[in-house]
């Protein structure tokens, strides 16, 4: 069953069609990777799906509900969460506070003015659990801004997980990470498979082919092929357009 169903999605910047009549089906529980050359419109697609950027036309149905026209916070509350290609955290907050803030967005009203949030045991416990899943629990009291790059990427993943998403849109989670850091993040993502539906944009082909259940290839704003990693690798159109050897 499709958790996310995209039909005829379009977006242009002037004459440039960044997303061009794009269709995409993401099945509940799968890890669906989207690959494509630079400038194919991958990050724009994530921005459109998450509601950060508007769309000119088309339909984005998530869990049976139309998401078009809904702003990003509403889509997150519906269960679509995302990470950013360029790390986006709250640098002045501690690691724990970063994640607890995300938990807070999904448990009870935040228009509470008196009870001290730092001593909210429920928020902190859920935040720590999300941190454990990405292996950052021992860094909980560190200021987020002083984490290493790889740790920041892991933190961002924990923040996204703390929103209890049904669908996680990951925009190049491995960008800029070292070999060891990337390996750890791949393990984390492998651990998430089956628990949450994932859409993964990634340049690291080893990671994509190791993790993905299905792969879609995006070229000039269109999906030119979708299939298992093996099918996609063997697809002549894909080889010509992207994987390089014709």
């Amino acid at each position: 069953m499709s958790l996310l169903s995209v039909r005829g999605l379009r977006k242009s910047y002037g004459a440039l069609k960044v997303t061009d009549d794009l269709d995409l089906e993401v099945t509940e529980g799968e890890l669906h990777a989207i690959i494509g050359p630079n400038g194919a419109g991958k990050s724009t697609l994530i921005a459109q799906l998450s509601g950060q950027a508007g769309s000119d036309a088309g339909s984005v149905r998530f869990a049976g509900a139309e998401m078009m026209g809904r702003p990003m916070p509403a889509r997150v509350r519906a269960g679509m969460s995302r990470s950013f290609q360029i790390t986006s955290i709250l640098p002045g907050f501690t690691v724990l506070q970063n994640v607890a803030t995300a938990v807070q967005a999904h448990s009870g009203s935040s228009f509470r003015f008196f009870a001290p949030v730092a001593r909210d045991a429920d928020l902190n416990a859920q935040a720590l659990e999300a941190l454990s899943r990405v292996g950052l629990a021992d860094r909980a009291q560190t200021r987020a801004g002083s984490l290493s790059h790889g740790e920041k990427r892991a933190l961002e993943l924990a923040i996204a997980l703390a929103t209890r998403p049904r669908l996680l849109l990951l925009d190049e989670p491995l960008a800029g990470t070292s070999g060891a850091e990337a390996e750890r993040l791949v393990q984390v993502m492998a651990g998430l498979k089956g628990q949450v539906t994932l859409v993964l944009i990634e340049h690291d082909m080893d990671a994509v082919f190791a993790l993905a259940d299905r792969v879609s290839v995006l070229v000039y704003g269109r999906i030119i092929a979708t299939g298992t990693p093996d099918q996609v690798r063997a697809d002549p159109a894909v080889r010509a357009a992207y994987l390089g050897d014709a």
Binding site: S88, L90, G92
Partner: protein
């Protein structure tokens, strides 16, 4: 973190203890004028505190907060003229009017960021200023002199400068505790998060605008309370309370004391007004010296006065 909280508690006791003891000192030194000056300081401390809530925690640099001082002051003038002198009514009207003005202007201003936000809040405050300048029923540019201070339970207790002073101190303490609670609450965390990274807050499901506007309204209402005290202290209300210089002074107080820790705003307001009184004894060009001091503080301690007590690094 906890050491910082301990220090803040000690500093709070020192500041409020000092204020509480001040009338005694004034009585001992036989200088009743001190209480009058200190009441003015308390009023500005409230306003600076309110500004710090949105500037320090919310990242919203309002350059129009003097408007709320004026709104509070005119609430006293207008109700008194109508024969309503009760302090509770004055405070209630000031809070409602301040909140309403903040709600409308904030909802529009918050569509902008950075320098545009500064300019639009300034523009709204100037509109309020010129409205009261042209309000001839209340003296226009010249303002109105209040014949009596606000009354409590029909009694003119506040006519005594010391009673007014302690009433103002109690309000400042109440507002300070309110701000401590707000900034440490769920709401406060979202407000601070939206200052740190609004996109991140949206991406976890928050709409920052709602939280920022709420804080803006709370701040406006608090500043209007300061205006009520100011009107009572001076027994005089005029549009000069809303002058944009005044808004600038409030920002200076917050920066001088150190933004984003509440007590700094109170200390900054105190220091700024004391310097004004003291330096003016020596020279009419006291602003020159004051400006130099402000530059030095900003250059050498980004956290203002509080930076002196915080120690290095974090």
């Amino acid at each position: 973190m906890t050491r910082w909280l301990m220090r803040r508690r000690v500093a709070a006791w020192l500041i409020f203890g000092g204020f509480a003891a001040l009338p005694l000192i004034a009585a001992l030194t036989g200088d009743p004028y001190l209480v009058v000056v200190a009441t003015r300081i308390l009023a500005f401390a409230m306003a600076a505190l309110a500004l710090d809530l949105i500037l320090g925690y919310g990242g919203m640099v309002s350059f129009g907060h003097a408007a709320y001082l004026g709104i509070g002051a005119y609430a006293v003038a207008i109700l008194s003229r109508a024969g309503i002198t009760d302090l509770g009514a004055h405070l209630g009207a000031a809070v409602i009017a301040g909140a309403a003005f903040a709600l409308v202007t904030g909802a529009i201003s918050l569509r902008t960021r950075g320098i545009y936000f500064i300019m639009i809040t300034l523009a709204f405050a100037q509109m309020a200023y010129f409205f009261f300048v042209s309000l001839s029923a209340y003296g226009g540019d010249d303002g109105v002199t209040l014949t009596t201070r606000s009354t409590v339970l029909g009694q003119d207790w506040l006519a005594d400068d010391r009673v007014l002073y302690y009433a103002a101190l109690a309000m400042l303490l109440g507002l300070y505790l309110l701000c401590v609670a707000i900034t440490g609450s769920r709401f406060g965390r979202v407000l601070t998060g939206a200052r740190e990274n609004p996109l991140r807050m949206q991406a976890v499901g928050f709409t920052p605008f709602r939280f920022q506007l709420t804080a803006f309204v709370i701040s406006g209402a608090m500043t209007a309370i300061a205006g009520v005290i100011l009107a009572n202290q001076a027994s005089f209300v005029s549009p000069s309370y809303m002058n944009w210089h005044r808004s600038g002074e409030l920002v200076v107080m917050v920066v001088l004391g150190g933004i984003g820790n509440l007590l700094g705003a109170i200390a900054g307001a105190t220091l700024a007004l004391l310097l004004e009184e003291w330096l003016a004894l020596f020279t009419e060009h006291w602003r020159l010296i004051f400006g130099t001091l402000l530059i030095l503080v900003v250059l050498f301690s980004r956290d203002g006065l509080t930076g002196l007590f915080k120690g290095r690094g974090k």
